[in-house]
């Protein structure tokens, strides 16, 4: 039995709603750990408030943030599965279903980039990214809606034959530019290498990695570790209360390219909206988070 338009339409609708009403478990755990280590009272109180708000969102079926962002999905398609129907259309229609049925309703956030006009639909909405998983007989979809709060602080620079210290100094410049405006503690993604577009995608995907997960390359593991320490020494703290927790995680990825090296940095705010489900080839849907 193939994976159908109807299954994906419903999956994309449900993923979006889940992402608005649940802070991922790894993120809640990281907030709890941060609260234990935090030395400043106002920062501890802010971390407590965040956790209580996140629990309320989940148990009372409420939005964690009033800004629902715009829809963005990352789709991984197993090479052994069969598809039936218009898959892109399923995401467009799934979002339309969400707008019609979600309670409480979401506001208009999809913005025309030139006229600033707002709507529930738009060109290239939802933003879709497709990838393949060799040999798999399932599909995985991650939804990570994005809004201005943390979205606006992403940045990118193209280096030529950079030293690692230049890359790390640039990373810190991005951290200082954002200050405490991206709703910290944040998850920071950095993509190094490849092409302009590939580096940006790596940075974004790096923010989707689970907190506490390790990169396969020891060189990157070390970089992530020292950069997280460095970010948390800046002292912006939770929501700009000062303190020790400006970031919950720094996730880095890289790709080979040429001797020009794009470096992209992006941020996800503390609610870290991210939900994933898996659809097996027989159409069974499993929520992974």
């Amino acid at each position: 039995m193939p994976i159908t338009y109807d299954i994906i339409r419903k999956a994309s609708r449900d993923l979006y709603e889940w992402s608005l009403k649940k802070v991922p478990d790894d993120t809640l755990e990281a907030l709890a750990q941060a609260e234990k280590k935090e030395t400043k009272l106002a920062s501890r109180r802010t971390l407590q408030f965040m956790q209580a708000a996140a629990r309320a969102a989940e148990t009372e079926d409420r939005h964690a943030c009033s800004d629902a962002g715009f829809p963005a999905y990352f789709v991984k398609i197993g090479t052994k599965l069969t598809l039936d129907g218009d898959i892109r259309r399923a995401f467009v229609d799934g979002f339309e279903d969400l707008v019609k049925t979600i309670e409480p309703p979401i506001l208009k956030f999809i913005t025309h980039p030139l006229t600033m006009e707002r709507s529930y639909t738009g060109r290239d909405m939802p933003a879709l990214s497709f990838d393949v998983i060799d040999g798999a007989d399932y599909m995985e979809i991650t939804c990570s809606p994005k809004a201005l709060g943390s979205g606006r602080w992403a940045d990118m620079k193209i280096f030529v034959y950079p030293k690692i210290e230049e890359i790390e100094a640039y990373f810190m410049d991005c951290v200082l530019a954002a200050g405490s405006q991206h709703c910290p503690p944040v998850i920071i993604g950095m993509g190094i290498g490849g092409s302009f577009d590939h580096a940006a995608k790596m940075a974004k995907k790096a923010t989707l990695r689970k907190i506490g997960s390790k990169h396969s390359d020891p060189m990157i593991q070390d970089m992530e570790e020292r950069l997280l320490i460095a970010v948390n020494k800046t002292g912006f703290g939770p929501m700009g209360t000062g303190g020790d927790t400006t970031a919950l995680a720094v996730h880095v990825d890289y790709a080979h390219g040429h001797s020009f090296v794009p470096v992209a940095v992006c941020f996800n705010c503390w609610i870290n909206r991210r939900t994933t489900l898996r659809i097996s080839n027989d159409g069974e849907v499993t929520r992974l988070e």
Binding site: T39, K40, L41, A42, R44, R45, T46, F49, M50, A52, A53, A54, A56, A57, E60, R62, H63, A64, C65, S66, D67, P104, P105, L107, K108, M116, R118, L148, G149, R152, I164, E165, E168, A169, M172, L176, G179, S180, Q181, C183, D222, R226, L227, I229, A230, K233, T234, G235, F236, G237, P238, M239, G240, T241, G242, C269, W270, I271
Partner: protein, 210 residues
């Protein structure tokens, strides 16, 4: 954990008088009661400035009031407009407009997230106005401090851009992050981080050698 004293969180009634605003200190955590007008729209602030310049009336009186950079959504129940959710939006994006609005309306408090720039801080000092910083993304708890929506203005705009006047009860806690004496927690943190940066970069260099 530090041994800092645990200060009591006091209640304030909005709108503040300029004197009340001047009595607050940077870092004070407070709960808010009273009335506030909110909007998340750039276009809304542009309209306020147009009205101030032309002498045209605003949909309701904002003189000496509290104005928060906040989006909101309501439902009607038994003739009352109850909030589904409210949440702050980034204030710095209004930096070019807010000094004129703070002065023109004599605002005694502004709320939002992320703070405001130096020219806003200057206007706030002049008028007797503080900035309340609230956590973004903690909507359920913030919304619990909102009693009802009293009225809206400029209803031709989308919901989160309209002017909306709300009744608050124990809203927050929010933090006084810019006081009425020219001090900004955001500027302070930004400066401190910039001062620390050379040392942080040195430590990164040392960590790379390990």
């Amino acid at each position: 954990m530090s041994d800092e004293p645990q200060p009591d969180i006091v209640h304030l009634n909005l709108p503040l008088s300029p004197e009340e605003a001047r009595s607050l200190s940077l870092g004070d955590m407070v709960l808010l009661d009273g009335e506030v007008t909110v909007s998340a729209g750039m276009i809304t602030q542009e309209r306020i400035i147009e009205a101030l310049e032309s002498g045209e009336d605003l949909p309701f009186d904002l003189q000496g009031q509290a104005f928060f950079h906040m989006g909101s959504n309501c439902r009607e129940e038994n003739g009352k407009w109850l909030p589904n959710y409210v949440n702050p939006t980034t204030s710095t994006r209004f930096d070019a407009l807010m000094p004129t609005i703070i002065r023109g309306l004599g605002l005694t408090s502004v709320g939002g997230k992320g703070g405001m720039g130096p020219q806003c801080v200057e206007a706030m000092q002049e008028i007797g106005c503080v900035y309340f910083s609230m956590p973004g993304g903690a909507s359920p708890l913030l919304t619990n401090g909102v009693v009802e929506r009293l009225e809206t203005g400029w209803d031709d705009l989308i919901e989160q851009f309209r002017l909306a006047r709300y009744q608050l009860k124990s809203f927050g806690p929010v933090t006084v992050a810019i006081d009425a004496h020219g001090n900004s927690m955001f500027q302070k943190l930004q400066q401190e981080a910039a001062d620390k940066l050379p040392g942080i970069l040195q430590e990164l260099a040392a960590a790379r050698q390990k």
